[in-house]
Symmetry: C2
Subunit: 520 residues, 2 copies
Amino acid sequence: MKDHPKTMNGAESVVRSLHEAGVDVCFGNPGTSEMQFVDALDRTKLMRCVLGLFEGVVTGAADGYARMAGKPAVTLLHLAPGFANAAANLHNARKARVPMVNLVGDHALRHQQYDAPLSADVEGACAPFSDWVRSGRHAGSFANDAMEALRVATGKPGRIATLIAPADIGWDDGGVMADALPPNGPVAFDPDALHGAVAALEHGARTVMIVGNGVLEDVGALALLQGIADRTGAKILAPTSNRRMERGQGRFPVAKIPYPINDAIARLAGFDHAILIEAMPPVAFFAYPGKPSLLLPETCETVTLAGLDGNGPEAIAALADRMGAQAAKAPAMIQPTPPAAGAITMDNIAAALANSLPEDAIVVDEGVSWGGALYAAGNAARPNSWLSLTGGSIGIGIPLSAGAAIARPDRPVITLQADGSAMYTIQGLWTQAREGSNVTTIILANRAYQILKGELHNVGAQPGEDALSMLNLDRPTLDFVALAKGMGVPGRRVEDVRDLMQAIEDAATEPGPFLIEALL
Amino acid sequence: MKDHPKTMNGAESVVRSLHEAGVDVCFGNPGTSEMQFVDALDRTKLMRCVLGLFEGVVTGAADGYARMAGKPAVTLLHLAPGFANAAANLHNARKARVPMVNLVGDHALRHQQYDAPLSADVEGACAPFSDWVRSGRHAGSFANDAMEALRVATGKPGRIATLIAPADIGWDDGGVMADALPPNGPVAFDPDALHGAVAALEHGARTVMIVGNGVLEDVGALALLQGIADRTGAKILAPTSNRRMERGQGRFPVAKIPYPINDAIARLAGFDHAILIEAMPPVAFFAYPGKPSLLLPETCETVTLAGLDGNGPEAIAALADRMGAQAAKAPAMIQPTPPAAGAITMDNIAAALANSLPEDAIVVDEGVSWGGALYAAGNAARPNSWLSLTGGSIGIGIPLSAGAAIARPDRPVITLQADGSAMYTIQGLWTQAREGSNVTTIILANRAYQILKGELHNVGAQPGEDALSMLNLDRPTLDFVALAKGMGVPGRRVEDVRDLMQAIEDAATEPGPFLIEALL
């Protein structure tokens, strides 16, 4: 153990112990009840401190950081309302099985009995958006609490661990350093499941392998999976939304289960066997009148080779071994011809992006109603990491990009951002500017909650004037170039697909963030 | 009962029943699980539908509406993450004892068993920020649930009632209209408490009457209170943060308990008797090392003449009757001399505002570190309604103004808005533009979380570089005029106090919203 001060307060013991266990970035939006952490971070200078102007930026950034760094950041949040502001992107991070440790300040223990203005049920607020919640009780055990939070967060799969920090135990002397605790490793796969998977593969093209999380991040596992598919005729699909997919030229392309309910059902209709590898049985985003909730056919037999707590690449290696399959070479992806000049449409945007996404880009996809059209770009482009909205709670793109850029300052980040969704956490542009992050935000401006118009149709309704007033964003139109300027991010508006491609290339060559408002 | 369709679905029965009970404004940020309400609102055309681009705008606006309309609006929110985004301003509304009914969409009942992307514990998420939560179970009883929510919300004091709406019971036919239920009236005051208050008033200037909520909204009650004070020598104070205060020339000025802990303790130090009227014993915003949580001296004897559930004006009338006191005339407030040209400072801003606030303004005060300096303006200005941040969760000002303007389109709204706080719910400017609201937002741009620097000092720390990186907003500076332009709101930047006054006057004469960025 390194040299640490003989005496320290509770907050300092937490900061120092987390750092010694490998946590070195803190995303924060602190308030009065977190001042002892601000002070401890300031005095120790052990962590990079990144400020968000809104808590949803903080947790979205911590999610993006974890997806690209493969380890958790710590967040600093302010009591129940601050946690609530953070919760939507915690929900997304939780569904992504991302590791994260939240420090949520609370009133001093003696103050909690009173109805002070900011008093609320902090534990109750944290519980629905955390996998683990604990409230610190003493300065001396506070670092231990933090190590337990880190242990939970970094197990397999990743979890959201929230440690509530009453202000006084942060101030109090008597902080004691604590050692890192070993996280839960992945659950070993079940030999019976392997047997079941082998049997399922006998059905060839009537079998689907649904692979998620760690598999999609592992280029080698995907190549082996392709080898199994080549040998057996089985199909491969990924869930609709994924934490991170390693994609692009030279990598094995994986199709996703479509978002629209009818497309999803049609896509899965032909399968009578399914093998799940770090994936769960696919479920519809929403229930619709007369449609099933579970997307696989009722008659489909499903075997879980590796659960979310398993090791998908290891399971795939064992399966390949049993099938005598070798790693396959990804098919040469033919980059589509760049589109001719003209309006930006669902038909030309994938070709435009496939030709203009920079090498090694981190692509953040919050395209929402344009998501299906955008997805193809990731296969044909140069190698890239593709990050999606995982929990359905819009407003993740700009923060996720900010955090990914902190984790990987050596790589360009491209955000494919629907306009309506952008407005939930638009403040994240300021953090990108402050940190000088190499992020290019492409606003896909259709000036509506376009996807909801489809959803209204799905429940059998035709929108009239009042409905459209809740779904259209055109009165007034949002000027994203002005919004970006307001937060120190330069920008440009484009309406032509060739101008879009040029703007992406220009933005990649300049340091710091840039915003492109693409009128659709 | 009016004519209603013979058959309707659950959502329509809720919309129609709420409307018949007097609810005619819906603030919403709906998603897929609320499409049946969007459809019902569209077909019935009974409510004014106001869209927010972020849920914190929706609830902040519903709060501002309720404060000025004296009745609740209904909100439309999307599952657990949407509710969470709404929660910080619900927290503020709850502390203001404002009536509000939330409709929170949830997955269809049959879909709730699955781990769909947006699945979460909706009831658990709602509970910490609501006074009442229920989940609808059948189309036929859904309107009854809504009427129970409305009953709870509109009792004394106002409450936050949250009705969770599974999507299918909104679609299902069999909706049945329900009648309004009588809310809880105010609790009658206790004769013993009246006796105690009379006895306390014998101590003259050593007695403080702390008056909140309904008292501060009632010019007549304040005049009677002044009469009691004139007769007995007792002092009058309001809580630090208040829902609505009727202020300005010709009205009785009420001082507030200061926010800074030392000032608050000093202000209350001389009292040995306290009479609470629609107020609770004052509590420090935060606990500080070596400072008490309760602000009245330990030896102070406290009598609650009317609790938050009581009728303060009625209690004051009874007390005045016992003391033989008459309504007093408010002292003539001398409008301060307008400041000379020069920088905008804490010393000249009150005089500037007192001279430039328009007649009958609704003033929304989220000045935070400038709050103390701003407050004096409200007494010397023309008559105004003064609305404050009640729950300490910053990001209320812009939404509160948007809602107040919907309730009272005949009155100008002036928002005194700290810059750091503005960024939590900046999206509310768009709603102001969309609704053509007569709101002038004055951004008080000190380019820091200034109040936190004081709080860091209060816990005994000196900020170094890393601490300042979490507290300063100057890298890059925010350009609020550009941000406003991005959302369709014209703006102007001022640095001189005379220019500020001129800008306020100019803004008041033009229709629609305006933003003034005041560099401090």
